[in-house]
């Protein structure tokens, strides 16, 4: 019911506005009868009313609108011309429509009154008449109409009454009321809007006052441009700041009278601000109201019995947010009904009432709005989730065991995850909760899930009151404050000088911090912003690190100091400053000064293109495609062998003494963290000068396939975030993916996987290959570096790999050959991965071939688009283990499908 009520409300509000306009337009039309635009606009309004009333089954309204539309359509088509008579008739129709609408608003029903029916008949006759006359006499409709009018009572009556309408319109209500009282039936027809409802009401009997309906129709709501509201809000904020200053002054002056006056003003200002904030607020009920119907339908489809309870529908939040939470909420409700609540017979077995209860609750808490969706269904079993996640290759078994139950529950928000045993038409397509989570996070909110097996599930969403205000962390660098959106924030680390020395490694110009064993690249905010370096390095005071998440990559931002977390109002930067990638906007601080909001993703890219690389004259081109951006680790062997490898592959960096190296079974190993780890000297596999004898060596440690292995190098130089663009050819050989000029030096890109395989052919053996015969893989990837790397580890795992340097090529090759699997990059020239997938799914000869998309950045949006395009799996290029596992899983599934 709620939904219909809503639509009705919208319809009434909209119609009212339009009808007001109509009055005006008709008058204009009389003056300018040729104005086609005007006629069309009037026609549209009436047409909309007709359509909507038909939808609701308001037959009287529909009838009036229909015949009015009829007349209008003839006007529009030029069959007849506007004259006073026609205008009067149409205006009368408008009055009747208004009267009906006002009745609808107060009672929800159409008025039952023969007046209206009579009018419809009149209108119909009139319409027919003018058509005839219009067709017959063409240019003289007026005379014609009048003549006929005398013959036909109905039409004649209307003509006569035309002046009365005008009069009444001009005159005040009381008179009109009087008139109505003494009037006969025929005079009631043209009564203007305020009277008809009264008449109707009187006839119906119950004493209902006219005034509410009348005022309702025109005055209770005003439409205001949201822009204007925003401006008001800004000004109110500014007023608060001025007030604050004044208060300070008042306190200093200590004049009692001034203080009192100021205090009063303070109160008013606060009140004013609150009220203005309210103008943008709407009750969440506007969304909740749509659910009873949705729940009913879903329950019916799922053959379950569900009772919906709504609490806190009056809770208010920003309009724009209300609109964007509707879909996520629908999704969660679907999930609850489909997976949560059990079928009635099962519920009875479990000694639960056969009717399940779904509660939607909203309330305010700590400046946020909390929405809870609670069901008393079967709950979610964390163990099942773990199992499923392992099956799907989302996590490894070790990871699964390490997860707490609570963390395990959060797995359902992972992309590609669906616990539904069978896919129903309600949910279970694997595109679901992850989207919900992303959407909520886009709004700056969070989602939590609590569940107890057999008892039920609670989903708790926290969202900010408004979108324009986001929580942010305020940091300082060179005495300027900057705001970092809390969404990107992972954790804060303060290092005292001692810890700093131990855990921060400086490699070339880059720094790293060892955060619980993971290597975290550090970016100094002042370097990113190119602020002049202060004399003292600040090392004496330790280091403040803000650990941030930039699209899946973690990095540490080093700032001078960290202040509070604050709610800030986001304001855009002007056109002169928009292009600076480091900033997302500006905000006003409590003292009226401006602070810049940092764009976390922008910082990483700008750090890459930063002075570091530029000073050294890096030639590596920074292509626009973010896809190919990677943190690279640069290292040397001896004096003049330069190497690079993706930092993401590296597990840790370390230094060891030459004396720590031992030989075991002909292989070099080192005791590392309690077990012996093989150490690889690159010269054994690459044609390079051997590693010179050193007292200390640097160790690059990899953790792959549950094993550790390390490369031994002379020096670790630097790390850079660069767009990788390698040349193959010159250095094409085993273990090398290509070369590039980095900092004026030819640098070889190491094929880490291949080198490890060369060192220990058994290193990667696992249940890698499903098929007996090598599966054929078509690999589409535009970056030479990644193409070589992927092909190297795929070939290493036993696949038969065919390469294509863009989507177009891949498509051509695909058509002329047979493959078992496609692995494609997303961003490619000519035809990207989405297009390629779509093309294969739509036109290919082997339509359901498994497709894995690989990317270096795991953008949620991409993932979503990919799934829509028909991509089966989505993996990071660098993660060999996962790519292989995904390939293997998909091939196995496919084989099982074929077998079945």
């Amino acid at each position: 019911m709620g939904m219909e009520d809503d639509i009705l409300k919208d319809f009434l509000a909209e119609s009212k506005d339009n009808l007001e306009l109509l009055d005006q337009q008709f008058v204009e039309l009389e003056q300018d009868p040729e104005n086609e635009e005007l006629i069309k606009s009037i026609f549209r309004t009436i047409h909309t009313i007709k359509g909507t009333s038909g939808f609701f089954g308001f037959t009287t309204l529909e009838g009036i609108a229909h015949f009015a539309e009829d007349i209008l359509s003839k006007l529009r088509d030029g069959i007849i011309k506007v004259n006073e008579e026609i205008t009067t008739m149409l205006l009368q129709s408008v009055d009747y429509i208004k009267a009906i609408l006002s009745e609808l608003e107060s009672t929800g029903k159409e008025p039952v009154d023969t007046d209206y029916l009579d009018f419809i008949v009149d209108l119909r006759n009139f319409s027919e008449k003018i058509t005839k006359s219009g067709v017959a006499k063409g240019q003289q409709p007026e005379t014609e109409a009048k003549e006929t009018g005398e013959g036909q009572t109905d039409a004649g009556t209307t003509t006569d009454q035309e002046p009365a309408v005008d009069e009444e319109k001009k005159e005040a209500k009381p008179e009109a009321a009087e008139k109505q009282a003494q009037d006969k039936k025929k005079e009631k027809k043209p009564v203007p809007l305020k009277e008809t409802p009264k008449t109707a009401a009187k006839k119906k009997g119950p004493a209902r006052k006219t005034s509410p309906a009348a005022t309702h129709l025109t005055e209770s709501h005003v439409r205001i441009d949201v822009h204007l509201l925003d401006q008001l809000m800004t000004l109110a904020g500014e007023l608060v700041l001025s007030r604050n200053r004044l208060t300070q002054l008042a306190n200093q002056l200590n004049d009692p009278e001034f203080l009192t006056a100021n205090q009063r003003m303070s109160l008013v200002v606060t009140e004013l601000q609150e009220q203005i904030m309210k103008t943008r607020m709407q009750p969440i009920g506007n969304v909740f109201n749509k659910f009873p119907r949705i729940v009913r339908d879903l329950a019916k489809t799922a053959e379950k019995k569900v009772q919906l309870r709504i609490e806190g529908a009056e809770t208010e939040l920003d309009r724009s947010i209300i609109e964007s939470i509707k879909d996520p909420l629908t999704h969660m409700v679907r999930n609850s009904i489909d997976h949560g609540i059990e079928a009635p017979d099962i519920r009875v077995q479990k000694e639960k009432p056969p009717v399940g209860t779904l509660t939607m609750k909203a309330y305010h808490e700590g400046g946020q709005v909390i929405i809870e969706i609670v069901d008393d269904g079967a709950g979610i079993d964390p163990d099942k989730l773990r199992q499923k996640a392992i099956e799907k290759g989302i996590i490894t078994e070790e990871q699964a065991e390490a997860l707490t139950d609570r963390e395990a529950l959060m797995l359902i928000f992972q992309p590609g995850f669906s616990t539904a045993e069978k896919v129903t038409n309600i949910s279970g397509r694997g595109v679901g909760m992850d989207v919900v989570k992303t959407n909520i996070e886009k709004l700056g909110g969070t989602v939590e899930l609590m569940s107890e097996v057999g008892v039920g599930t609670t989903i708790k969403i926290k969202i900010p009151l408004t979108l324009a205000i986001i929580p942010a962390l305020i940091v300082t660098s060179q005495d300027q404050r900057y705001a970092i959106p809390q969404v990107n924030l992972v954790e804060l680390v303060h290092l005292n000088p001692k810890l700093m020395e131990r855990d921060v490694q400086k490699i070339g110009n880059s720094e790293f911090y060892r955060l619980r064993g993971e290597i975290l690249p550090l970016i100094r905010l002042r370097n990113v912003l190119r602020l002049e370096e202060e004399e003292h390095d600040g090392t004496g005071e330790g280091m403040n690190i803000v650990v941030l998440n930039a699209g899946g990559n973690l990095f540490g931002l080093v700032v001078d100091s960290i202040s509070d977390s604050e709610e800030i109002v986001v304001k855009p930067l002007g056109s002169h400053l928009k292009h600076i990638p480091t900033f997302a906007g500006t905000t006003l601080m409590g003292d009226g000064r401006v602070a810049l909001i940092l764009d976390v993703v922008g910082i990483t890219s700008s750090a890459a293109a930063g002075d570091d690389a530029m000073k050294h004259g890096t030639v590596v081109s920074t292509k626009g495609m973010e896809d190919d951006h990677q943190f690279l680790l640069l290292c040397t062997i001896g004096q003049d062998e330069y190497f690079a490898l993706p930092l993401a592959l590296v597990n840790r960096l370390d230094k060891i003494k030459a004396t720590d190296l031992e030989f075991v079974g002909g292989k070099e190993v080192i005791q590392y963290r309690g077990h012996s780890m093989p150490v690889i000297r690159l010269e054994n596999y690459l044609p390079i000068s051997p590693l010179p004898e050193q007292e200390e060596y640097h160790l690059i440690v990899f953790h792959m396939n549950h094993k550790d292995v390390a490369f031994l190098v002379s020096q670790i130089d630097d790390s850079l975030d660069l767009a990788i663009d390698v040349e193959e050819g010159t250095f094409k050989q085993e273990g090398i993916l290509g070369s590039a000029i980095i900092k004026d030096r030819t640098t070889l890109f190491l094929d880490v996987y291949q080198i490890i395989s060369l060192h220990d052919p058994d290193f990667f053996t696992q249940e890698d290959l499903y098929a007996e015969t090598p599966a054929r893989v078509l690999l589409a990837e535009d970056s030479t570096f990644y193409r070589n790397m992927l092909s190297s580890y795929l070939t290493g795992a036993g696949y038969d790999v065919v390469l294509a340097e863009d989507g177009q090529k891949a498509w051509e090759i695909y058509q002329s050959d047979h493959f078992d699997l496609i692995i494609t990059d997303i961003e490619m020239p000519k035809m990207n991965g989405f297009e390629l997938t779509r093309k294969i799914r739509d036109e290919g000869n082997n339509k359901d071939i498994p497709i894995i998309a690989v990317t270096s950045l795991s953008g949620e949006e991409n993932r979503q688009r990919g799934l829509e395009a028909g991509i089966n799996d989505y993996q990071s290029k660098l993660d060999r283990d996962r790519v292989l596992r995904a390939a293997n899983n998909l091939l196995r599934e496919k084989a099982l499908d074929t077998a079945a």
């Binding site: 300027q480 855009p572 056109s575 002169h576 292009h579 500006t586 009226g592 626009g624």
Partner: protein, 174 residues
Amino acid sequence: MNQNNDTLPAVDNRGNVVEMAMADTAQFVTFYYDKHFFGLPIDDVIEINRALDVTPVPMAPRYVSGVVNLRGQILTAINLARRIGLLCKIKEGTGKREFNNVIMGDREEPVSLLVERIGDVMSIPTEKIEPPPDMIEGIDLKYVDQVCKLDSKLLIILNSKALEKAEESKKNKS
């Protein structure tokens, strides 16, 4: 600030055409930077504000001094001298210097022009307004609309459109 438009005659500064009923004069907001004397057509100026606090924006174009807060609206502050390439000793990094803000341009997104000293509003007979000479020492002529020779000095009438226009050369943020 709006009353400017009501009480003062409309001046079209774009061409040499000046629409006025009275004796043909145009009004200009004038200001100084170093020894130069500048003017902007009064209709292009929204308001004048004494010393707003400028928050520097790192990595901004050189002519942008930062951003200012004008009653809750955040405006880009453009340093006049740097913008027009004025060759005068801009005392770099000498701590805080007080500037005056001439808020000008498009009402949707105005900018604040930082100038040293504010002068008077001047009414100038249109016939005294001339096209700019081929060269004015150290000023990029694309920002100059017209000039007017006054008794003691030259009034340089600036082109507000050129002043507020963001340079396109930079890539837009992706």
